[in-house]
């Protein structure tokens, strides 16, 4: 049940992130093209900056679910089992605590932000724009909680996340290279 919930959330995040990335890329390419024809869109700077912020926070949430944020796991991984698990737990609680505060104050400032709006889209008030902070903070708390058992298991067995990621990147590259060679052989 929890695994299903995690998969559904992850899929929703993927869709949102992909939509934001495609929109941002399209906006940049469209604006560059229009600038070439001497008709730069006036909304470009503001909207592209907002899209970047949204992509940042939804992308960061996606990275939380995949545990791909930069960290230094060498020391915890080298510790004996019990201290490693305790430190991993402390680290997780600190992360959750941080995002609880961000969600709380990110929500609090929306009350002020709603009186202002974007210059290029007057109907888009800043509370909508900045709501990405509390929304993604809550999602990051959920992501941390859902993936916490995995992290504690890794800490108990001395697995360093960075090394795991490196092994994954190498496996992916080897698979791609093998596919390429097979493709060349069949062409």
């Amino acid at each position: 049940m929890i695994a299903l919930f995690e998969r559904i959330l992850l899929r929703c995040l993927e869709i949102i992130c992909l939509a934001l990335l495609v929109t941002l890329t399209t906006a940049v390419v469209y604006s560059a093209t229009m600038r070439y024809f001497g008709a730069s869109p006036s909304w470009y700077d503001e909207i592209a900056s907002v899209l970047l912020a949204w992509l940042t926070y939804f992308g960061a949430t996606y990275a939380v679910f995949l545990r791909q944020h930069m960290g230094f796991g060498g020391i915890v991984a080298a510790l004996p089992r019990i201290p490693a698990v305790v430190l991993a737990l402390v680290s997780e609680l600190l992360v959750i605590g941080f995002f609880v505060v961000v969600a709380w104050y990110g929500y609090a400032v929306l009350a002020v932000a709603k009186w202002d709006s974007l210059l290029s889209l007057r109907w888009m008030t800043l509370d909508i724009v900045q709501s990405v902070i509390p929304i993604t903070a809550v999602l990051m708390i959920i992501g941390t909680l859902l993936t916490m058992p995995r992290v504690l298991r890794n800490a108990a067995s001395g697995v360093d996340q960075e090394h795991a990621e490196i092994e994954q990147a190498i496996a992916d590259a080897e698979r791609d290279a093998a596919l390429m060679q097979r493709g060349d052989g069949t062409k």
Binding site: L18, S49, G59, V76, L94, V101, V102, V132, A173, M180
Partner: protein, 426 residues
Amino acid sequence: MILLLTTIALITLIMINVPIAVSIGLVAMGGFIMTSGLPALNDMAIALFTGATKFPLIAIPLFILAGNLMNTSGISVRLINFVSALIGFVRGGLGMVNIGVSMVFAEISGSAVADVAATGTVLIPEMKKRGYSRTLAAAITSSSASLAIIIPPSIPMILYGAIAETSVLKLFVAGVVPGVLGGFLLMLVTYFLAVRYDLPRGEGFDLCHVWTSFKEAIWALLMPVIILGGIFSGLVTATEGAGLAVVAALIIGIFIYRDLDLSHLRKAMLEGVSQTGAVMLLVASSAALGLFLTQAQVPQQLAAQITEMTSNPYLVLALLNLLLLVLGMFLHGAAAIILVVPIVLPLVEAVGIDLIHFGIIVTLNLAIGQQTPPVASVLITSCSIAKAGIWETSRTNLPYIGVLAFILLLVTYVPVVSLGLVEYFQ
């Protein structure tokens, strides 16, 4: 005092494996609460949003996406085949191929690990087959990939440009001469090592093969020409150049090489999203920390204290180089830039160091940092592929690190090496 406490808190949090972005945010949060009370956290929430809206940073997700698309489009393999046909006949040629390909290919995407994995998985096994020791194969791959950090387009340069509010275009131009010079010196070292270890020559020079592989690789070679040519000639801005890079990578991957299907595209985009999120959350949380430190006048006090002792820019640069080299051993490149640059910027400006010049120095320090354990993801990736020990490889890597250090000293004390081309284009 505030700087000392901030540093200790940050190091402690990072050591217990709190993600660096969250560590920075937690330290900022603690600082705000202690100096201004709970209401100051409203400012922090706003800084977390505005920190992620800096316009020049829009280039980051786009270059990351373009790099990922190139990684999955078989561009690396085609480049390797071409450069191998071109210079593979020289003694140590395969090592030089590795360096040449890295200079063209690496560090476009946000993940140096993915870049090294893409070229290393093809080249390292081949090098081992031809008699290169595991450690030498890993050392060449690792150091050349790190040098590529200063060859444009480079994510660390975009980060620096946005934080220091200086021209990303000028940074790109300033990186060209040190990058190319460093590449040639790495090749020279490889040649000497190849003679010393009596490594075999690669395939013989065959004009027909060069032509065939050139035809295959032409689009891959045109990619940097299109992007950098567009940016350097002023046709497009750095951000628009990033958009152009995505379009070019898509066209090449889908219509020309036809290696980019829907599932590869989705995978490349999702990896790009995750890498963007990881880098940009660092940027956003450091904006909050930057706000706290600026309110506490920390960068200004640091600048005043150091300029009281010395205002000699060369001495200050030596101190900063030392600081950055030590930090590079323990922090990932992006994190080091984001953390250090805002703090030292008033000092750099106070002693009259050119911001473009300093940007190249910072980036080069981080290139060396990627080679020095314990935090050295590029070196670790190369070692994992070569199945070589990290410390043994570090020993073999010393001449290559020496080259990087030489380039760093050259750039630091002979500013024309980096700034000459910038002034020429002005």
